[in-house]
């Protein structure tokens, strides 16, 4: 498949457990974003990578949240000592975002979303 994939699709964790969520972006996409979506709400930005560099992590809600993309492709979002308020759908998106000169092309900015990982913390 050529789309963004995420795993696992569903994760149930006991409060206090650590979890790791994986995102496989579209091959060749430079930019990768993580969003958190609570029930009945729109997605909220968590963090952004350009290749392996984490350029913006302003949306991470606490230091229990950590994201990495060590080789500039697959990314992992890790949540330590999960709490009930962490229950949400975690969405990953990627976009081409490669050359500033291509910014005039609409598709350059389009973010392609994965199906999400639904995390339930008991």
């Amino acid at each position: 498949g050529a789309g963004v994939s995420q795993s696992p699709r569903y994760k149930v964790a006991k409060r206090g457990q650590d979890v790791a969520l994986r995102c496989d972006p579209i091959s060749g996409h430079v930019s990768l974003f993580w969003y958190q979506q609570a029930l009945g709400q729109g997605p909220e930005f968590l963090t952004y990578f350009q290749n392996e560099a984490q350029l913006d992590k302003s949306g991470l809600p606490s230091d229990r949240f950590f994201a990495e993309r060590p080789e500039g492709s697959v990314s992992t979002l890790k949540i330590q000592r999960t709490q009930q308020e962490d229950s949400a759908v975690y969405l990953c998106a990627s976009s081409q975002g490669r050359f500033p000169g291509l910014a005039a092309i609409s598709s350059y900015n389009e973010q392609f979303f994965g199906p999400g990982t639904r995390l339930t913390v008991l």
Binding site: G40, F45, D56, P100, S106, N109, E110, Q111
Partner: protein, 111 residues
Amino acid sequence: SQQGEEDPQALSIQEGENATMNCSYKTSINNLQWYRQNSGRGLVHLILIRSNEREKHSGRLRVTLDTSKKSSSLLITASRAADTASYFCAPAGGANSKLTFGKGITLSVRP
């Protein structure tokens, strides 16, 4: 904030009718994107309009942007039951920056 705020929160129409959804935002933008989300397909990109564009079409979709009023609208013509979903607008401050979504509009199209 740059967050998009959609209006109305919910919309119910008959199949074949047109659906108009509105979005407002507060700061300057580089582009604004509309997305659709349903349980079957996740979040799907519909259309992107840049700040120097006023109107854009894609199939049955028409998006307008008024930067002076900081507002955008999404029109779906000849709606179908399959258009039933939540719709989000997402303003973006930079050419390749994070998206800030509102709470979305729940559209129900009755067969």
